[in-house]
């Protein structure tokens, strides 16, 4: 019961602390305005290049928005503890580690989903794009799998907070790489083969692929294996993330590096 309380209450508190929230402006500027205008920018760039249709970029960037919220959210929920020097106290607590850190993943997943839906809807509305409502359920399923996978990657990056202070640098770099390598803004067949191979092992790629297939008329049953791959990627990152948390916590305690700022 105590672990459940840590999972939910700890997760919610961590989420509220994410942007030093006192009012919703921080959320609106970084998680609504930024992804919406990013989506619009790439839709226009796609039109200029005449490479793919608007839906290609609309879906790709909505998923990137989910990654932004999920990955950065998860990363910062652990990294913020180091920044505000509360990490040693957190680790000194007898709370169940899994509940403690996985509880932070749940708001990240939900947040990523909401941000992606907002981004998709607002960008489509602003550019008068058609939303195929009958496909939204399937696209939502793919999106959920991607949000889960991104939170898993965020857990891996966040665990590095035990070792270094500059995790934002890594998350920022990855968010740039995601714009290309996941196929969000560039058709995968235009990437070098090595990047196409890499794309299979990172979050978003399979989710975006499944969502685009759904938008192009495939059924949910057709794309379930692809969504399954995205979920497996997520499980793999979560597993690695938890192992990294344990390992880095142990080594950081030995090195006495948690207090360094």
């Amino acid at each position: 019961m105590n672990s459940l309380r840590v999972f939910f209450a700890g997760g919610l508190t961590s989420y509220r602390a994410l942007f030093n929230w006192l009012n919703p402006w921080a959320f609106l500027s970084i998680l609504v305005a930024y992804p919406v205008f990013q989506t619009i920018y790439f839709i226009y760039l796609g039109r200029a290049a005449n490479t793919a249709n608007d839906t290609f970029f609309l879906i790709g960037n909505a998923f990137v928005a989910a990654a932004l919220a999920g990955m950065f959210g998860m990363t910062q929920s652990i990294g913020g503890e180091r920044r505000y020097q509360t990490l040693p106290m957190l680790l000194a607590s007898p709370a169940n580690r899994l509940a403690l850190f996985l509880g932070r993943a749940l708001p990240a997943v939900v947040n990523g989903f909401v941000v992606a839906v907002l981004s998709y809807t607002l960008a489509a509305t602003m550019l008068h794009l058609h939303l195929s409502l009958d496909r939204l359920g399937g696209i939502g399923t793919a999106l959920l799998a991607s949000c889960f996978a991104c939170a898993g990657l965020g857990l891996c990056i966040g665990s590095l907070s035990f070792r270094t202070r500059s995790i934002t640098l890594l998350a920022d770099t990855l968010s740039g790489v995601f714009l290309i390598v996941t196929g969000a803004n560039v058709p995968l067949n235009r990437l070098p083969e090595s990047l196409q191979t890499l794309a299979n092992y990172i979050p978003l790629t399979h989710g975006i692929h499944a969502a685009r297939a759904l938008a192009n008329g495939h059924t949910l049953a057709d794309v379930l294996p692809t969504i399954g791959k995205e979920a497996i990627v997520g499980v793999a990152y979560f597993t690695v993330g938890i192992a990294m948390l344990h390992y880095f916590e142990r080594t950081a305690r030995h090195a006495g590096s948690l207090d360094r700022f």
Binding site: F19, N20, S29, I30, Y44, L169, V186
Partner: protein
Amino acid sequence: MIRAFRSGLKVDLLLLLRSPFDMVGMLVWPIVFASIAYLLLGSANGERVLFTASLGAAVIIMWGWVILGAGFALDTQREMGTLELIVGAPTPLVVLISPVMIARAAFGIYGLVVTLAWGRLVFGIPFLINDWAAFSVAAVGCVLAIGTLGLIAASTFILYRAAFYLGISLQYPVYIASGLILPFAILPGWLRPISWLLAPTWGFRALGKAAAGQTPWPDIGMCFALSVIYLLIAIPCLAFFERLARDRATLKLA
């Protein structure tokens, strides 16, 4: 005041050069934007189009770094508790904040070099600069104009605790409105007059025309003219928002 401006510029440039976030970010993001443009446009569009896209990516980075820097610098001062001291110092606030913007815009030159080198090494796009002298002047004009536009944004940021987030949200709207890598023909017509007010529009045009061997001087002139206009707007804006922040006693809120 000149000494304060010069030492501010020096300190901010040194901070940028010693910051892993800025050095790596400035390496990654120009490559990201340029690569997306190259991969989407493809080689069929010709080397000139791809080279112009590189210049667009460089201007994107200049604006991005200025607007992020504006927010980040103020947030950091706020967090460290030094914003009140800066505002309370007898040196005018504009002299203390403008070096941050100019240093960040000038740092964009590094982004320009990265973009051009990436295009040359990975995509085989040659350096198609026909008039190096005009190109250099255009780069200086672009840096100044974008830096001073950032100063106007910074003046409003003094009021907000979440200035960095606000800065992030102002990146893409300006990329779109300035037609960076995007032709204006595909953008809504009402954006055109807005683009005339934005420094990145003229900076991008000046760099592109200088590189193509066309006449860039009217566009370079617009960059310098806008720099003066922005400065004339930023100074009273900064004074107004500084006064407002003092009245509301929000400078110390982190």
